[in-house]
Amino acid sequence: MRIAGKGLIDRTEPLKFTFDGTRYSGFKGDTLASALMANDVRLVGRSFKYHRPRGILTAGPEEPNAMVEVLDGGSQSPNTRATVQEIYGGMAARSQNRWPSLRYDVMAVNDLAAPFLGAGFYYKTFMWPRAFWEGLYEPLIRRAAGLGKLKPQHETATYEKAYAFCDILVIGSGPAGLMAALTAARSGADVILAEQDSVIGGRLIAEDGQINGAPSAPWIATTLAELETLNVRVMTRTTVVGAYDQGTYGALERVGLHLPQAAHLPRECFWRIVAGQAIMATGALERPIAFTNNDRPGIMLASGAQTYLNRFGVPPGQKVTLYATNDNARLVARQLIAAGVKVAAILDSRAEASSVEDCPVYLNAAITDTAGRRSLTGISGHHAGGDFQIDTDCLLMSGGWNPLVNLACHQNAKPSWRDDIAAFVPHSGMVPGLHAAGAANGAFSTHAALTEGRAMALAALQALGKTATSPDMPQAEDAPYRLQPLWDVPGKGRAWLDFANDVTVKDVKLAAQEGFTSVEHMKRYTTQGMAPDQGKNSNVGALAVLADATGRGIAETGTTTFRPPFTPVSIGALGAGGQGAGFAPQRYMTSDPASRDRGAPMIEAGLWYRPSYFPKPGETTWRQSCDREVLMVRSSVGVADVSTLGKIDIQGKDAARFLDFVYTNTFSTLPVGRVRYGLMLREDGHVMDDGTTARLGDTHYLMTTTTAAAGQVMRHLDFVHQAYCPDWQVRFISVTESWAQFAVAGPLSRMLLNSLLDTRLEEFPFMTTAEVSVEGVKARLFRISFSGEEGYEIAVPTPYGEALFRDLLAKAETLGGGAYGMEALNVMRIEKGFITHAEIHGRITAFDIGMAKMVAAKKDCIGKASAQRPGLNGAEREQLVGLRPVDPNAAIGAGAHLFTPGDKVERVNDQGYVTSVCWSPTLGSHLGLAFLKDGRARHGQQIRLVDHMRKTDLLCEVTDPVFLDPEGAKLRA
């Protein structure tokens, strides 16, 4: 039902939607809640624990009952507040936490068992046997108690994240917010006005209030129009959800949730707003009253009913009763009567109050019970004149107002209690730069809100050092707020405090009785305030009951902690852009298209994509390709892209000194044009990384790092430089991306290079470097080898990378060679006993890998002193060894553990573990690298390898880690 002519909905634009499969119609501007009420739908959900029928309680984001699943394209958004969700054409929503239907819910049997299901029931009942909790009890309880369900599939919708900046952030657009924004904007400040609702005006709209003696709508429109001409960004549907350090606020914008899904249209945007100053004009929430069976559909807050009446033109019921503790709520009854809605009675809990309304007014009233299962039918109780029974289908409650202090408390300051309004209010300085104004500050009249809005904006402007231009103050009501607090009405049966989590007055009293007298303990024992509404409707009421039960005052009892977010934020919004490949940047080498052209499967190495192997026709497994590539490199020539290795250009007259400091070995003695292998330790003496460094000039070096350690090494160098030797003349910069670098390895490698170099290579011994020219481009050539073969790496400026790779491959193929991938690269380095981060995994010392002699005795270096600590050297250390299975065809796996033959396979007998394995086509055997206790003394012995995961248990021979060409004759050829 709608009241003709009332409301801000657009009656020219009807919208069809469904709820639980039934078709309904509403208008543009409706929320799902207002549209359902207009269609006389009262029952909208089932309660969390007892599965009690529930209706709409509020008209705002604090709604505890009316939570639904919105089914939108591929998405399913659970726990959507029907009071916030706007309808759109074709929208489908459904109720949650019920089976088989909302009207007939089997789990409502819980409500009959309520005497047993009080606070702490689960803790007490499901204690034993302990192991049953996780497997049996918890899943059962979770199924019975609950909220909406997520779709068990990946989210496909678009979300967005963004940053915004302003001088003054105004949170809330009621009279206080609008006045603050106007004052700030007229004074030239750069303002963001954030309003959680879809329309501007806050309570002015809901209350149909007056400004300057006329309806407030024109004043709102004029103000908004002026704001838009000034430096104000008006953000509707944007809820500020958190107040963080340094004036940063988190906000969630509902971008497309009120529209049918459209390609690329974000559902929500998570904003990080950085503000010089902020005005908290977040208003106040009306609070319910706890009395027996106060949770039936049809019982709602007076302020909610006022919103439905004035903003949506929907009467809250046919025959309405008001139950209030204050003067403020009387206006609602008067507006209902004026709109032609029958008001059965006003029940005022106070002994003395006016009774001017055009309906029966009862003082000293108390409701002791209500009737009606799926919808309210009547109430009963007593008042000054005796007992009463009233037939009514809608009961409005007003227990007074709680300022929305949440944001002010996000940095752990506690609000102050004000006895005169029986509410918590913020005080200044709770969040630096945040000023509370209007109802959020406990100033409830429109006049007070306008006044405080202006005053707080002036304070914010002053803090920013801006000259203020103060707008004139509009005329508005300044009615006193007379209230006598009433938290719970004595009576039999359950009286709800927390509708969302089904917590009653009895539960809170029980918590106090059982010793959970701290408000934080009561919260956890009863779960009060832990539902999606985070206790917005119940916190103050619950702690008032607790205060009473423990004989303390409310101020002394205190509040629980207010934490961000103020309203629920979807993970999708927080993680916007991070779905799928958006999780991390993808780094591509210049050879990437050429590798993919050849059908190479790509694997991730850090953020890089590198070819795993290059399948030839007829090869069906990776091993066939890998074996061929290894033999190809060992017999002719192979080409591999090694551009991903970190490259750091180091210059300055102290560059050599700097390298001596960060590397264990000495680089100041390295002649220009030579390359040296270097080992780098962490401060704690363990190996951080290894690589080769070339001396390009007297004061110029080029360091290489492992692919995945490039960032770590750069950070380490920066730290060492800035912390220990900032005055040294040394500068370094990453050149990883500046050079495309290719390994050319194998006995025909020189022949291949000579077919491309502009000048033939003359004498070019192992571990040298020189500038060369390749097809007219200046290049750097290094003679280094990670394969054990005669090997070179040639680097060209990155733009030429793809061309050089393709040209190298074409010529290599003519020579019987070709490309090789990461698998073959790995096999060849294992055959040679070269380490990677599989070995130097962070717990390994130079001693462990047999490189103790590389820690130069004549100089100090990072990590040297730490590496000499007891326990980091000696026979008790697990040392790098090679492993060959006694049966060369028996496969071994990395991660297997080693035991002395004859010992029992138990943790205490563990002798070490395998780090890298391969099938060596060169040697016709499986090979492994491993760390073995006192391993270097055990070469030639047998060790038992046990792999519980792969079910391997076999004997291996312990060998030197270098299986192939230990003298290095080939790589020096």
């Binding site: 940053y163 497309g256 529209l259 974000p266 958006g582 003349q729 990883t736 007219g776 400026p797 733009p799």
Partner: protein, 174 residues
Amino acid sequence: MPELIAKSALSGRPPVTLAGTTLAETAVGQITSIACFPGTLAKVSKRLGRFPAPNSARANLIWTGPEQAFLIGIPAPDLAGLAAITDQTGGWAALRLTGPKAADALMRLCPLDLRPAHFPSGCAARTPLGHMQSVLVAEADSFLILIFRSMARTAWHEIETALQALNARAAAGV
């Protein structure tokens, strides 16, 4: 004499225009890092004309760190002994974003106030762009974005995604 073929990071990718804003790969020519050695800033400054102030760009120079700048488009002068000179040409992909939504799009990826009044032409920053690091320069009607070459595709994708969302917002009026 044979010649190696050079390719840009996003070679062949046509510009994309969304919400009236155009994303295009661009060529900036040579990029040289100039990192002053301790105590040489004044001399280097003299040699270059003027060294850019932190977070600014002027003429061919972009500030990229303390006493460090990128020289764009021209060969580096001889600064031997005064500064470390490193060729960075091939290491960066250059993107240009031009149009009314350029700042809005970048403010979905960079935690900076890029509105014209706060980051006018001539401003420069080292800033995260999504999960990547970038060099960002405000020009007269556009932004120049330098990004590690290997990440150019991801950068393009992220900026394009931001533009798509802005475009869809404009179409939906939100």
